[in-house]
Structures are given as C-alpha cells and as structure tokens.
C-alpha cells in the first residue's frame, strides 16, 4: 500500500480544505518543486549532464514552462468554463505586443486634439503584467458574444479574434514601433536592477511565474468563482436557476484566462524568442494550446503541464531519437516519421482515455491506493 491514507486525520476545516489534503501528494509536490527550484539550477551550475549544455534549459524547459502557463490559461476557459476558444494565440500576441509597447515607451500623438500621450518605458515586470491585463480587457470584449452563442459557434467567434489580431500586428506599424521588417526586439530583461540573461536565470524567472500562477489558478478553480465556472460548463440553464449570473461567470473566465495567456505571451516573446513577428502567435499556436489542454485533461491544472510536455517535448524527442541511435535517415524522413508517430499516439491516447493524461494519473492514483489488492 504505497498510497495509504489511513491515519491521516483531518481535525480542522483548514486541513480539510487544503489544496493537497493527502500527505503523499504534498510530499510528491515538494519533491517536484525541490527538483525544479533547487535541483535543476544546482545541476546546471555544476555542468552535470544533461544540464551542462544550454539545450535542455533553453530549448526544452523554457518553452515548456511558458506554454504550460498558457495552457493553464486555456484550461480555465475551455476546461473549467466550457467556452471553446481558438483565439489563444491572439491573446498571447496581445500580451506580447502590449508588453513590448509598454516596455519601450508608449507615444500616442493626438494631433487633432493638440497634444500627445506619452508614457516612458516601464520596468519589464510591470510591462509583462500589464500586457496580461491588456489581454484580459480584450478577452472580455471577445467574451461578450459567449453570452449569446455557444460551443462551436463561439469557437468560430474567437477565431475572428485570432485573425483580427494577426492582421492588426502585421498592419498597424505603431505596435511594432515602425520596425521596417515588422519584427521587433524585446527590451533588456531587467528585474529590479537584476539582468536576467543566462539560460538558468531565464528558467528561474519563468518557473517563478508558472508556480505563482499555477497556485493562484488552482485556488481560483477550487473557490466560489471556479465552482460558478464549472456550473456554467456543466449546464448553464441549471446554473442560472440556482442563482449564478452567466454574464459574470463567463466574463470572469474570459478575463482570468486571457490574463494568464497574455502573461505567457509576453514571456514567450521576451524570455524565449527575444525577437518575434506576428507569425509566432499564429492560428497554429492557438491549436497547439487547445491540443495541450485536450490531451492533458480538460479541467485540470496538472493536466495543463502534462499536456504541454506531451505536445511540445514528444515531437522533439521523436526527432532526436534516430540521430542518437545513429540510424541514417534523412531529416525529411525523420520529420515525416515524427508526424506519423505523434499523430498515431494522439489518436491512440484519445481512444483509450478521452479525458487525457489527468484522468490517467488519477486512475493510477486509485490503483496505488488499492495496491496490492485491487478489486
């Protein structure tokens, strides 16, 4: 009985309402956080394989953390509130470009009013958070149709947001500070006078963001608001009858989700890419995020992480394996193989477990509880 809960008594309400009421879960999480916060930097510091090269940090862990954050945002909207959205890429772009504008100084010439609005460049942290806020505002605007339309129809409405903002950031050169090629550079990453430049510093920065937002999101979905979202998701008419206001519930879901996605977008642009163009936030990104949430598990914060890992890391692994084994395949064959294997794995997984990895994990937990005497 590896997962024995016998003897864990809860004597106060606080204990009963803890995020992780079971001791084993708390320990597992503590170990995981310990590895992420202390282990990885230590290993990287001592150049211990495989952390010695920047590759693992910069090309795998960094995008994984940022996309996991975005997936949490998408999961709040799609998984918890049941509002299918195909506009996540656009909200990432809004976060990225707003943060860029705020980080480099905003200048709005209002010639017809005879004056101009000028905001000096803001600190990076503030720009990133305000970028998220801008995404939240736009998210609310594009969430308004959700009061009248549902399901696939809403998905198409959010698709409009995707195309609209692709167009805006390509065409309105004010957003790119009139860069001739339309590609913009992130400002230097200064946090309270500390320059975040090395891969490990960037990793730590993203890790802090992801941990804070994951804890906030987890608490939010456990609380009053989260229960309202889930009620709306499960049956909106019934939810309305028991006194939940759909307007408030749906728009808060859009706001919170877009805020998190916007912050993730700003991090993606500032910390991972450093220089980007609207194509970095195209419809492909929206679909990728939606797949992460579906594969990971709708309505599960942990599922967002697992989904992000599956969608992002597995193709890279599949791509790396033949080279590492010394199999002489051309890159195009490897790429095609990668598509085939990855696609079949998704099909297999969704047939075997339509509720994603989160469900698989909880089944595993149930089995461990009963081990070695399953019934």
């Amino acid at each position: 009985m590896l997962y024995r809960e016998a003897g864990q008594f809860k004597t106060t309400y606080a204990e009963d309402m803890a995020i992780f009421p079971i001791r084993q879960d708390r320990m597992a999480l503590a170990i995981l956080l310990g590895i992420a916060f202390i282990g990885v930097p230590l290993l990287a510091d001592f150049d211990i394989w495989p952390f010695g090269s920047d590759y693992l940090l910069r090309a795998i862990l960094l995008p994984f953390l940022i996309l996991a954050l975005a997936a949490i945002g998408v999961n709040i909207l799609v998984g918890y509130c049941g509002q299918i959205s195909l506009g996540s890429g656009a909200f990432m772009a809004i976060g990225a470009y707003s943060a860029y504008k705020l980080g480099t100084g905003v200048h709005i010439p209002l010639a017809w009013l005879g004056f101009a609005i000028s905001i000096p460049p803001l600190p990076v942290l503030l720009s990133i958070l305000l970028g998220g806020l801008a995404a939240a505002v736009v998210g609310i605007l594009f969430g308004i149709p959700s009061l009248r339309i549902k399901g696939l129809y809403l998905a198409v409405a959010t698709l409009a947001a995707q195309f609209f903002f692709d167009w805006v950031f390509l065409r309105v050169s004010w957003f790119t500070n009139y860069a001739p090629s339309g590609s913009v550079n992130a400002p230097t990453l200064d946090f309270f006078g500390l320059n975040v430049g090395t891969p490990i510093e960037r990793y730590m920065l993203c890790l802090i963001f992801v941990t804070v937002f994951a804890v906030l999101a987890k608490n939010l979905v456990r609380g009053n608001l989260g229960r309202q979202w889930m009620a709306i998701r499960d049956m909106d008419i019934a939810a309305e009858l028991i006194g939940i206001r759909p307007l408030y519930a749906k728009l808060t879901a859009f706001a919170v989700s877009s805020f998190i996605i916007g912050v993730a977008g700003a991090l993606w642009a500032f910390v991972y890419l450093g220089s980007w163009e609207p194509l970095a936030f195209s419809i492909d990104r929206s679909l990728q995020l939606l797949f992460m949430v579906i594969i990971g598990g709708l309505g599960s914060i942990m599922g967002s992480f697992v989904g992000a890992a599956f969608i992002l890391i597995l193709p890279i692994m599949l791509n790396l394996i033949p080279t590492q084994l010394g199999v002489p395949l051309s890159t195009e064959t490897i790429t095609h193989l990668e598509f085939i294997i990855f696609g079949s794995l998704i099909c297999y997984l969704l047939i075997k477990e339509p509720h994603g990895f989160a469900r698989l994990i909880s089944i595993g937990k149930e089995k461990l509880r009963l081990w070695p005497f399953p019934y």
Binding site: S181, L273, W276, T335
Partner: protein, 439 residues
C-alpha cells in the same frame, strides 16, 4: 506487459537523446538548418542538397579543410521560427569546438537568433537574405549578410527598370508595385523602395500576401485595377508559382514582373508552365548552370553515390546557391586557420576568418567557381562584401541572363543602413566597434 516494456524502452531512448556522442578531436562541426518539409519545401530541398553536397565534397576530395574533417548535422526547421531556435540550441554546442557558424535560412529565424548568436559568439551567415542593416559590422558583429542584402536587391531592381524604360528620369510618374510575402522577409525591402520612390519620383505601392502565399486573388485584382508599370515579386515557395499563374490569369505581362533572387529558381516557374515565359528575376551573382566545381561534385560525391540531389538537378539555381553558401563558410574557416592554426576553431575565430575573407578572381578559379561568382571582400565594417547582381529571364525552358552586372548604389543604401542599425544599437545597448582598430 508489452506496453510497459515499450514505455521503458521509450524512457531509455529519450534519456539517451541527450547523450553527446564522443566527438573526434580533429573535426569542425557545422550545423545545417534546412526545411525539407512544409510549405516552402520545394525551394528548401534543392538548397539544402547543395549545402550538404559541398561539405561532402570538401571531405571527400580534400579530406576536410587542411586535414580538419567537416562534421555536419542537419536539423529540420520547417521555416518556423521557434523550431529554428530549437535547432540552433540543439546544434550550437556540438563538436569539439561548437558550431563554426550557422545559416538559419530564414529571415524570421535570423531576427530571432541575432541577439543569441552575438552572446554565444557564433557567426550567423545570411547569404542574400536576413536583415539588411546587419551589413554594418560595427553594430552587428556576428551577422554576415554575404553577397547582397534586400536593400541592395531593391536598388538593383530599380536600376534595371530604369534601364528598360530608358533612364532614371523616365521613372517619374511610373507605378511600381511590390507583391511581398507578409513576413520580415517580404517587408525588408519596403523602406529602401520608399527611399528610391522619393528620389526618382515613381509611385510605389506595397501589396502584402499572407503566409504561405497561395491566396492572391484580391491582390491581383488590385494590380489589374491599378495597372502598375512593374510588379516586383518578393515571394518564396508556393507563393512565386502562384503569383506567375495569377499574373497570367489577369493578363498582366510577365516580362513586367521582376522577382528577387529568392523568386528566381526553377521550382518557381515550372508549375506555371508556358505562362511563366518572359518572367524576370534578379540573380544573386550566380544563376543556373554548371562550372568546374560541379565536375568535382559529380566525380567525388555523385560517383560514390553520396549525392543527395537527383543528378539532373545539380546546377539548378537553388542548388548552386546552397553550394555557394557552404563554400563561403568553408573558405572563412580556411582563412581563420591561417591565423589560429590548422585545428577545429571556435565561432569567434571563424568570425575573424569571415571578416578577413578575400576571394579574388584567382582564388575563385582554384575553387571552381570562376564565372559563377565575382570577387568578394569582406571587412569589419562591411559584412555584405559584394552587392552585385544581374537579371535573368525564364524563356519557358531555362533561365537566360539578359543584363549586365549592376552594382547597388551605396549612396542609396548606406544612409538607411546607418539609420536602422544605429536604432538597433540604441535599443539593445550595443556599443559599436571601432573598425579602424581591428586587425
């Protein structure tokens, strides 16, 4: 259970994926970023074949560069910026000294890597593409847009149009449209063309086409209504062939279309069939055709069955471009070996080789590129090296060179280079190098 065993095997394999293979000590590692899949594969494949075949030739014929074998690894980017960044991170540290240089083969990836390569001290070679302001080596110390930038290309295209209409003074009042791929690549020439429009008094209209470029109906409707005197085409992959077909559909004369050098290869015109006849494109110095280096490739690479391309496609425009690109990198390493010794070199040392690269007529002849390229001399302040080009025309079967050499007018491009690179330096806190003090 079988499934558990499979998972175990997968876990072992994925762990092994990070293991760095024991590298031989006398090898120079060169990464190849390419795309053999995706929307741009038709153009990406011949280019990547040319690159790989030339490195192979150097190993097979000469046993490497002064005895230092070339170790190459290809990584598929699919022309996506984030995949390109991943490939760069994957390959930059391989081999005994890390990557010698990197060819991102995409303007978008170039933008994303510019800052990273400067930190990692790995030169980034963007032959005929990339950011035009990086010609200024004082600010962009690791970017090398060799042989020509998009601003040089824009200048050459306008020079050719001026020649066709009978002089620069005849350009006044003419309408020139730019049909461009809506990405950093396509937008790059716009500021230069705006400068030229102001100078010569022609009317300039940029018309964007979204990625990947198969949907151009409304753009050609606008062209049909506006009837520009010339259409400049800044496309890539499927966009080029589509543009030629659409031009035929609205009866826009193909000989009034001038493509940039990335719009002037065989895969761009063959899908349009006879409709493409008359279409013109710039040449990045070289065009299609075989030179004495091709004989070497056939003898040392293809005869041994190590060639990647179909033999009939050796000598096509993009194949030759890939080969040229690889050759410039190899020569930079050779040059750097003169100073740092005949051993594997770091990116920083190869940068010295690039900045001191001087390929004379005689050297090009030795390399077998005589007649294909003109001499190139790169310096600390001039990372472009040469800014010459010709115009070629598709006659339905092959490319014919129809013009003399043009040299981009530096008095047009230079002020813009200074302005935009100074802006970059200010944005990124780059302290420009003093090139007069570099040895």
């Amino acid at each position: 259970m079988v499934r558990n065993k499979l998972m175990l095997a997968a876990a072992i394999l994925s762990g092994g994926a990070f293991a760095s293979p024991a590298a031989a000590q006398n090898e120079q590692f060169i990464p190849i970023l390419s795309y053999r899949t995706g929307a741009y594969a038709v153009n990406g494949v011949p280019y990547a074949n040319g690159v790989a075949d030339y490195y192979n030739l150097v190993n097979e014929r000469d046993g490497g560069i002064n005895g230092v074998k070339l170790l190459v690894e290809e990584c598929e980017t699919g022309y996506a910026t984030d995949k390109g960044v991943e490939c760069y991170e994957r390959l930059k540290g391989k081999g005994p000294t890390g990557a010698a240089f990197i060819n991102p083969l995409s303007t978008g990836i170039t933008f994303a890597l510019t800052e990273k390569t400067a930190t990692d001290k790995i030169p980034i070679i963007t032959m005929g593409y990339g950011r035009a302001d990086s010609k200024n080596g004082a600010v962009f110390s690791y970017n090398f847009p060799l042989l020509g930038t998009y601003w040089s290309a824009a200048d050459i295209a306008i020079q050719h149009i001026a020649k066709e209409v009978g002089g620069f003074d005849k350009l006044k009042g003419k309408k020139i449209s730019l049909l461009y791929h809506d990405s950093p690549y396509g937008k790059e020439p716009i500021p230069m063309l705006q400068v030229l429009a102001k100078k010569h008094g022609f009317e300039f209209a940029p018309i964007p086409v979204t990625h990947p470029g198969v949907e151009q109906k409304s753009q050609w409707l606008a062209i049909r209504q506006n009837r520009p005197d010339y259409v400049l085409l800044w496309g890539w992959g499927v966009m080029n062939g589509t543009a030629v077909k659409e031009a035929a559909a609205v009866a826009y004369p193909r000989d009034r279309m001038i493509g940039v050098w990335w719009s002037g290869a065989e895969p761009d015109v063959t899908p349009a069939g006879d409709q493409a006849a008359g279409y013109k494109a710039l040449m990045l110095q070289h065009g299609a055709g075989k030179f004495s280096v091709h004989a070497d490739i056939e003898k040392h690479v293809y005869a041994k069955g190590k060639g990647l391309s179909e033999p009939g496609k050796v000598g096509e425009v993009l194949y030759n471009r890939g080969m040229t690109n690889a050759m410039l990198g190899v020569e930079a390493i050779r040059k750097a070996q003169e100073k740092f010794g005949k051993k594997p070199l770091t990116g920083e040392q190869v940068r010295w080789g690039l900045e001191n690269l001087n390929l004379t007529e005689a050297r090009l002849k030795e390399l077998g590129f005589e007649g294909m390229l003109k001499p190139i001399k790169i310096s600390c302040s001039d990372h472009e090296g040469a800014r010459e080009g010709r115009v070629q025309q598709w006659d339905g079967k092959g490319w014919k060179v129809i013009s003399d050499w043009y040299t981009a007018n530096q008095s047009n491009t230079e002020p813009l280079v200074d302005e935009i690179s100074a802006k970059y330096a200010a944005e990124k806190n780059v302290q420009p190098r003093d090139c007069s003090k570099e040895s």
